[in-house]
Structure formats: C-alpha cells, structure tokens
C-alpha cells in the first residue's frame, strides 16, 4: 500500500509534532506541520492534506473551532480530521469542554498521551 498522502500535524507542543511526524514519515506518509489553528488553515489552503491530526488546546484558534470551520465548509469537509483530545482524566478544570472528540464534527479522536501505534492505526483506518 502506498502511503504517500499528505498528513497535516497541528499542535502547539512542538516536540509532539516532531514525534508524530517522524512516526508518520517512517510509515511513508508525507507530512506538513503547523503550530496553531491559524497557521494550520494556511497550510490546509495551500497544501490540501488528506488528513489532519489536530490538537484541541492551541493559541489563536483552537482545534474545535478549526474542525467546525472545516466540516461546515464545502471546500474542506472531505478532509479527515482526527482530534487529539486533552488528557481528560488528568485535567480537572479547564476553559475547554472535553467533548471526547466524537461529539464534535471530527471523524475520529485520540486521547493524550497518545499511543503512536494506535494513532497510526486510526490514520490508516480513516484514509
């Protein structure tokens, strides 16, 4: 199977973006990176990824907002969105509602801390 589709990884944790990207590249995916929702939208317009791995808590534009924008847009609703939801058990209070991913318009979700192998399975299942 050829995995040369473009995956956009979006997270303000730059170390996590790097780890996920290395894993995706090792599985022969092409990878683009963005570090917040605004920058991600630019990359989506310019490079049109097949799938986006999208963090929730980010500066400027959070993952829920970006996901809703994509899924309600005729141009981008076909792009698969996998949300990286926050560590719900560990975070006791936050400004964000932890909807568990599935209650948003996202196609799938992974809870943090992520299991990279599980994330790869989810990516492949959704492409």
């Amino acid at each position: 199977m050829s995995n040369d589709q473009l995956i956009l990884v979006v997270d303000d944790d730059t170390d996590l973006v790097e780890m996920v990207s290395m894993k995706l590249e090792s599985e022969n995916f092409r990878v683009a990176k963005a570090y917040d929702g605004v920058e991600a939208m630019d990359k989506i317009k310019a490079e049109r990824p097949a799938l986006i791995i999208l963090d929730v808590m980010m500066p400027r534009k959070d993952g829920y907002t970006l996901c809703d924008e994509l899924k309600t847009s005729d141009d981008y609703k076909d792009i698969v969105v996998v949300l990286l939801t926050a560590v719900t058990e560990a975070i006791s209070s936050t400004n964000y509602t932890h909807m568990g991913g599935k209650t948003t318009l996202a196609d799938d979700f992974v809870t943090k801390p992520i299991d990279l192998d599980k994330l790869m399975e989810i990516v492949k299942d959704n492409l």
Partner: protein, 178 residues
Amino acid sequence: MEIVLSKESPKISIGGIKFSEKLTHISLVKDTAEDSSIDDLLRLLAKRRINIPFLCHSSTLYASQRSCFCVSCENFPGVLSLLNFSSFSNLNIKVVPAVGTITLFPHKNSFQLLGQIIQTFGKFNIPIYSMSSSISAIALNTDFTSLDMVAENLQGVTSLPENHAPFRQEFCLKELHR
C-alpha cells in the same frame, strides 16, 4: 518542513520562535561529584510544587557537578529560602533575576541552524546563560528584556512562515497537586 539553506536565500526556514514568561535563572556548582545536594534540592522544589521549565545538568568534567535551571519569578523567593539551608552551603550559586527562554523550532538536528544561532548570539554580544535542545527545538536563556532584539537578529538568519504563531504564549497550564 525541511531546513533549507539555498544560495539565493541564506536564511534557514524554521517553523517558529517562542518566548517564555519572565524567569529567574539559577546556576549551581558543587565541587565534588559524590555530593547529592542537587538531587536534594530538586526533591525539595518538587515538594513545594515549584515547577522547573528549563534545566541543564552536567557532571562530566572538572570533578564537579553543574546545574542550572529556571523558575518563574514568583517562585524564586521559595527557591531562595531553600538555598539558605545549611545543607546547600557547599554550592556555588549564581542568580540572574530576569531571563527569558527563546525557543526556535524545529531544529531538525541541524548543525547549520545551531551554528547560525550561536553565531548570532556571539555577533551581537548577547549572553547565553544556558541552552538545551529538545526533540524539536533549541531553547536558549538570555536577558528577558533582550528577547525581542534577539528574535529580530535571529530573523536575519532564519525565515518564519508568513502567518506564524505569535512569539509570546497566550496561555499556560499549571499542575496544582499530584
């Protein structure tokens, strides 16, 4: 995102730059490698729930151990009260009250980028109190008031995406208890 250095554009493409909040930088040196003061101090800081956003430690040479770390300025009095304990009197302590961490990412393990960063700090006589790489980034501690100037100078050798994330963070997380 690949690190690109072409003849036409000598700038290295990076994904972004981040500034930390204002921090206090503490350097500790102890003369013997056997002593456990630094481990003890880390234990006490943890007990007091004092976060260490940056640490660099080395025990290779000079038959001594050297550590430096940063804490938020509001936590510094708590650190100082611990350092006043007699058990830490063997440590040579130096404090820089107002530093900021400037972080460039991703480094892609590139000597070219590392060299450009170090060269820029040297060229403009900007102090590097400490530095460490992470998986993705190179983080350098310098004077807090110099962060904007440092970023400007570094943009002479690096190029950022057009709509890059702001240098200053909008929010942080805090761990209250464990």
